[in-house]
Amino acid sequence: MIWLTWRQHRKQFLFTLLALAALAAVMVPTGLAMHHTFVNSGLSACLAKAGTAQLIAADAGGNCSQLSNQFSHQYSSLTFIGILFVILPVFVGIFYGAPLVAHEYEQGTHRFVWTQGIGRMRWAVAKFGLIGLVTLVIAVVYAVGVTWWFAPLIASGDNGRLNYISFDVQGVVPIGYTLFAVALGVFLGTFTRKVLPAMGITIAGFVVVRVVIEWVVRKHYLSPVSLKLPITSTMQYNPYAGDWVYGNSVVSAQGTTLLPSTSLQCQGGNVVMMSTSGSAVPSDANPCANPLYQGAYNLQSYQPGARFWDFQWIETGVFVALAALLVWFALTRLRRIS
């Protein structure tokens, strides 16, 4: 079976290697340049100094934000490559997963290979296992590569590594996505028995599942943490902590929400900083002078950046479990198929 798998897929392996090499040819030079700039501009040191504490002194950021802006400006075009990495798994799914069973049906060769002495179930287990292993290796290679490449871009921005897109292209989740995409392709192939429809539905199914999990399910993996910051404090939320902020509001000392979706900082009865993300507009021109705001504080609900790996493993677990389920369905379907 190893020989058959190699013989049937060697062209695919070759193209995959070429594609990965082409990717590396772009990523290695740009990645090196980014890492170089990241360190040499002083951004790296500045961020290290800012640390990952939840609250930092208002001036602790130093010139970080200026350097960070510079960096982002210089490499902003490369951020778009990040989008490409989001769809890499589905490519593996449609080229390795979808044709696995569907192509045999389309060519009628299932009648040849399933009537050999080995039997179709052993064929399926061996084929799924070997292709699964190959896609695992491919996924690990690009997951590691992209994580390295993306690190400075994510660190430099003030939207942490738990955020959409950033989270999806680094760590171990790309491996989970890839195994899921391949399993989805295989499973759908047992139904459509045609390669192109299997590919098309794989893309659609992958997008739907990814979007639902990303926008609906992921934020419930762990309950968020709250952090209180008095509006008169001279501290600020650390923008470099890599937190995933769900929301901010200004709450009175008695615990009633004064300003939803807003953060406020006062000094000597005057507004130093006020930012509103919602539609709520404060009725007062100067809330800092309002007696209602006496002892009020900012309340931030968020996932700490330190939970990055917890989220990574949970999300990977979810997708690997889905993949295992799909493979099991595919095997059952093959056993019962007529």
Partner: protein, 302 residues
């Protein structure tokens, strides 16, 4: 049953949606026979063969190959050599690679036999089989099926797509190969003429039902064409035979009948003629094409 049974079907049926592709199929193919599975396109020949090799799962009844359920384990698959319709092979594989592949997918595998067979036919083993002619590809598929040293060889319309010369060569190779080994063969065709000389067992399928099955010699001695005056038809037949097909002119009746035993004494003006295999098949196919007769159970000889 003194002879061992290679293939046995008992009330076998397969349905696609609401339409039955095969139904009430009961037959027994003894070992060592060369059996022709004959019927028009869509009669259920491929369905029967796919059920026998385990590609399909029966919706009712059962099929056994040397006593094994082909869906249950690998025992049956090890005994069967199967050449599917249009001889599907990995088209980018060379014959030599397919022979190597067979060795990896089967416990018993005679690679030398397959290579020697192809060498004798001057078929290049280093070119992708997709680039060979249809006849050559059929020979490669046959060589692969035979390399398994099967006890039962199933071939689904192996020669339908071949030109007359390639047909002849294919049948010659097939017969040469199985005559020394005693392999049981079941091959389907919508043309009887291709198989008539080679086969000693016949199964006729029509509209998903087995119309006739049995040893060719027994079938031929068991049927006669009776010709005589139309007015004495009823008396001539009285209790002697089942009419399979009748054609009548104003004065004369021509009846193909199934005899219960020896040829009976005939009324004046009647004579009995032996039937050819082709007449027999056509007669039973025409039965199936019309409304099926009630005595189907009798027609489907066990």
């Amino acid at each position: 049953m003194t002879e061992e049974t290679a293939l046995r079907a008992e009330g076998l049926g397969k349905r696609y949606g609401r339409a039955w592709a095969l139904r009430d199929c009961t037959l027994r193919l003894p070992t060592g026979r060369i059996a022709a599975l004959v019927g028009p396109n869509g009669a259920g020949k491929t369905t029967l063969l796919h059920l026998a090799v385990g590609l399909l799962r029966p919706d009712e009844g059962e099929v056994r190959v040397f006593g094994h359920d082909p869906r249950a384990g690998r025992e049956a698959l090890a005994e069967i050599g199967f050449v599917a319709q249009d001889t599907p092979l990995y088209r980018d594989f060379a014959a030599a690679e397919l022979i190597k592949l067979g060795g990896k997918l089967n416990k018993t595998w005679d690679a030398a036999l397959a290579r020697e067979r192809l060498a004798r036919l001057d078929i290049p083993t280093d070119r992708p089989v997709g680039k060979l002619s249809g006849g050559q590809r059929a020979q490669v598929a046959l060589a692969l099926a035979l390399a398994k040293r099967p006890r039962l060889l199933l071939l689904d319309e192996p020669i339908a797509a071949l030109d007359p010369l390639a047909r002849h060569e294919f049948m010659q190779t097939l017969m040469g190969a199985v005559s020394d080994t005693g392999t049981t063969v079941l091959l389907s065709s919508h043309l009887l003429a291709d198989l008539e000389r080679a086969c000693d067992f016949l199964i006729v399928l029509q509209k998903a039902h087995v119309q006739l099955s049995g040893d060719v010699d027994e079938l031929l001695t068991g049927h006669r064409t009776l010709i005589g005056p139309r007015e004495t038809e009823a008396s001539a037949l009285a209790g002697t035979a089942t009419v399979i097909r009748a054609s009548r002119t104003d004065r004369q009746s021509t009846l193909l009948v199934r005899l219960p035993g020896a040829v009976p004494a005939l009324a004046d003006g009647w004579r009995a003629m032996e039937v050819s295999l082709e007449d027999l098949v056509l007669a039973y196919l025409s039965v199936g094409a019309g409304s099926r007769t009630e005595n189907l159970g009798e027609l489907a000889a066990k």
